[in-house]
C-alpha cells in the first residue's frame, strides 16, 4: 500500500520535474535555473541520461573567438558546466606562473621613498620573461641560478641640469629625477648571456614610474626575479582581469507592435532590440542579445513587464581575458587548461601509487 503511494508520488514528482526541466539552450526556467548550481546529475530527473558522456561533450562543445589582440582576448565557451569554466578562470588568476621581482638588495637609497615601499613597488612591475623557460626557486636559496633567477640592477643618481635657465619645470631643472622601469638594467646570471639576447628579459613597459628624486639623491639596488603563482602574491598573476559572463537571452512572449515596440527598444542598450516595419505595423525583435547589459529597466514598465522574459543561457560563457603583457592572452588560456590537466594527472598518479 505505502509502496504504491510512494511510486505514485515518485511518478508525479518525476513528471513535475521533467516539465520544469528544459535544456539550457531553450533558456532558463525559473524554478530550476534560479540557482547557479547545475542539477543535471544521474538519478535527479527520471527518464534522462545525465551520465558524463565524452562523445556528446566533444560534439556539443565549441569555442568561438570574438576578438584577439596582443593583450586582450574575448571568446565564447559553449556547452560546458560552470564548475569547469570557473576552474579555468580561477587558474588564470591564481595558478598560471609568471616571473616577478621577489628579492630586492638595497645598497643605497637616499630618496624620500622608504626601502620597503620601494621594494613593494618594484615587485609589482610586470617582467617580460617567458616563465615556461624558468624553474621554481627553492625558498632557502639566496643566490639563484641561471635556471631560476633573473637579475636587474637599478642605479640612478639625480643631478642638476646646469644648462637650465628661466624654468621651474623639474624635467628641465634636473637630470634623472624620474626613476622609471627603463633604468632597470638586466644582469645575466650564469650562462644566461648566451641563451638570451639583450631585450629578451626586461620590464613589459619602460615608462612605469618607480620613484622621484631630487639632486643629490640616489637609488642603488639589485633585484632577483623568481617564478611564482598568483595565489602566493597577486604580483605573479599573469592577467589584469580574467572573467566570464553568461550570454543574455531576451524572449518576447507576445508580438510587440507600434509605440510599445519603440518603448521596448528604449529600455535596452542600443542594438539589442530593433524595430521593423512602419506605422502601426512596427514590430520589435531581439536583434543582438549579446549587447544587453542585463539591466532590468523593462520590468519597471507595467505595460511591458509581462511581455518579455529576461534570462541567460547557462552554458554559454563569454570569457574576457586581459593579459599584463607578459604572455599573449591565448597562450595564457592554453596554459590554464594545461594546469587543470596536470592537476588531474598528478592525482591520477598519486591514486594509482596508493592502491
Amino acid at each position: 500500500m505505502t509502496k504504491g503511494v510512494n511510486l505514485l508520488r515518485q511518478w508525479i514528482f518525476g513528471n513535475f520535474l521533467r516539465r520544469l526541466r528544459k535544456s539550457p539552450k531553450q533558456g532558463a526556467l525559473d524554478l530550476v535555473n534560479r540557482t547557479v548550481h547545475s542539477t543535471d546529475f544521474p538519478g535527479e530527473y527520471e527518464g534522462y541520461d545525465d551520465a558524463w558522456d565524452q562523445q556528446k561533450f566533444e560534439k556539443d562543445f565549441r569555442i568561438d573567438m570574438i576578438k584577439m589582440s596582443h593583450d586582450e582576448l574575448e571568446f565564447d565557451m559553449v556547452g560546458i558546466d560552470a564548475a569547469i569554466a570557473n576552474a579555468f578562470r580561477r587558474i588564470l588568476l591564481a595558478e598560471v606562473p609568471t616571473m616577478a621581482i621577489e628579492k630586492v638588495f638595497i645598497y643605497n637609497n637616499t630618496s624620500i621613498i622608504q626601502d620597503e615601499v620601494l621594494a613593494h613597488r618594484l615587485g609589482l612591475i610586470p617582467i617580460k620573461a617567458d616563465p615556461r623557460l624558468f624553474e621554481f626557486r627553492s625558498e632557502d636559496d639566496t643566490e639563484g641560478t641561471a635556471e631560476d633567477t633573473i637579475e636587474f640592477q637599478l642605479k640612478v643618481k639625480c643631478t642638476k641640469n646646469t644648462h637650465a635657465k628661466d624654468t621651474t619645470d623639474p624635467d628641465d631643472l634636473y637630470k634623472d629625477h624620474k626613476v622609471t622601469t627603463k633604468h632597470l638594467k638586466w644582469i645575466p646570471v650564469g650562462s644566461q648571456g648566451e641563451i638570451f639576447k639583450d631585450g629578451d628579459l626586461r620590464p613589459v613597459h619602460d615608462d612605469i614610474l618607480i620613484a622621484k628624486l631630487r639632486p643629490g639623491q640616489e637609488i642603488d639596488l639589485r633585484v632577483h626575479c623568481v617564478k611564482g603563482f598568483g595565489k602566493d602574491h597577486a604580483k605573479f598573476s599573469p592577467v589584469a582581469t580574467a572573467s566570464y559572463r553568461l550570454l543574455p537571452e531576451i524572449t518576447l512572449l507576445k508580438p510587440i507592435k507600434g509605440e510599445l515596440a519603440k518603448k521596448l527598444k528604449k529600455c535596452f542598450s542600443p542594438g539589442v532590440i530593433e524595430v521593423d516595419g512602419k506605422g502601426s505595423n512596427k514590430t520589435a525583435r531581439v536583434a543582438n542579445a549579446r549587447k544587453d547589459t542585463c539591466s532590468r529597466e523593462v520590468l519597471r514598465h507595467d505595460d511591458l513587464k509581462d511581455l518579455v522574459k529576461l534570462s541567460r543561457i547557462r552554458n554559454h560563457f563569454i570569457f574576457s581575458v586581459e593579459s599584463t603583457g607578459i604572455l599573449p592572452p591565448d597562450i595564457l588560456v592554453e596554459e590554464a587548461i594545461k594546469v587543470l590537466m596536470s592537476k588531474c594527472r598528478t592525482f591520477m598518479n598519486e591514486l594509482s601509487q596508493a592502491t
Binding site: 544521474p42 558524463w52 569547469i84 603563482f229 588531474c344
Partner: protein, 119 residues
C-alpha cells in the same frame, strides 16, 4: 613555490575506525581548493554509480580540501579515478578546440555567426 618543496603526499585517504568500506571514502587533496574541488565534484557526480559526492575546505588557512565519495556499490577509489580521467579528457577537448579556434582566427578564415560590430 610552496608545494614544490613539500615532500608530503598530495593525496591522502581519511582512516575510519571500524570495518573497511570500499564504497565510502573521504580523500584529502593537499594544496587544492575550489578550482579542482568543484570541477571534480561536478564530474564525479555525473557518474551514475555515485550516490553522494561533495567537498569542503575545513579551514581557510589550511591549504587542503576534503573530498567525500559514496557510491551505490563500486569502489570509491575507482570512481575518483574515473572522475579524474573524465576531467582530464574534457580539458584536453577544451584545449584542442581552443587551439584550433585560435589558429583559425589567426589565419583569418574565421567565420562566426556571432554579431559583434563595434559601434
Amino acid at each position: 613555490m610552496t608545494d614544490k618543496t613539500e615532500p608530503k603526499p598530495k593525496l591522502e585517504v581519511v582512516e575510519t575506525p571500524g570495518e573497511d568500506d570500499e564504497t565510502c571514502k573521504t580523500f584529502v587533496f593537499h594544496n587544492e581548493d575550489h578550482t579542482l574541488g568543484n570541477s571534480l565534484r561536478y564530474i564525479v557526480m555525473k557518474n551514475p554509480e555515485v550516490q553522494f559526492c561533495g567537498y569542503s575546505i575545513p579551514h581557510p588557512s589550511e591549504n587542503k580540501i576534503n573530498f567525500r565519495i559514496q557510491t551505490h556499490g563500486t569502489s570509491a577509489t575507482d570512481v575518483l579515478m574515473k572522475g579524474l580521467q573524465d576531467l582530464n579528457k574534457a580539458s584536453e577537448t577544451v584545449l584542442q578546440k581552443f587551439q584550433k579556434s585560435v589558429l583559425d582566427y589567426k589565419q583569418g578564415n574565421y567565420s562566426s555567426d556571432v554579431k559583434m560590430d563595434d559601434s
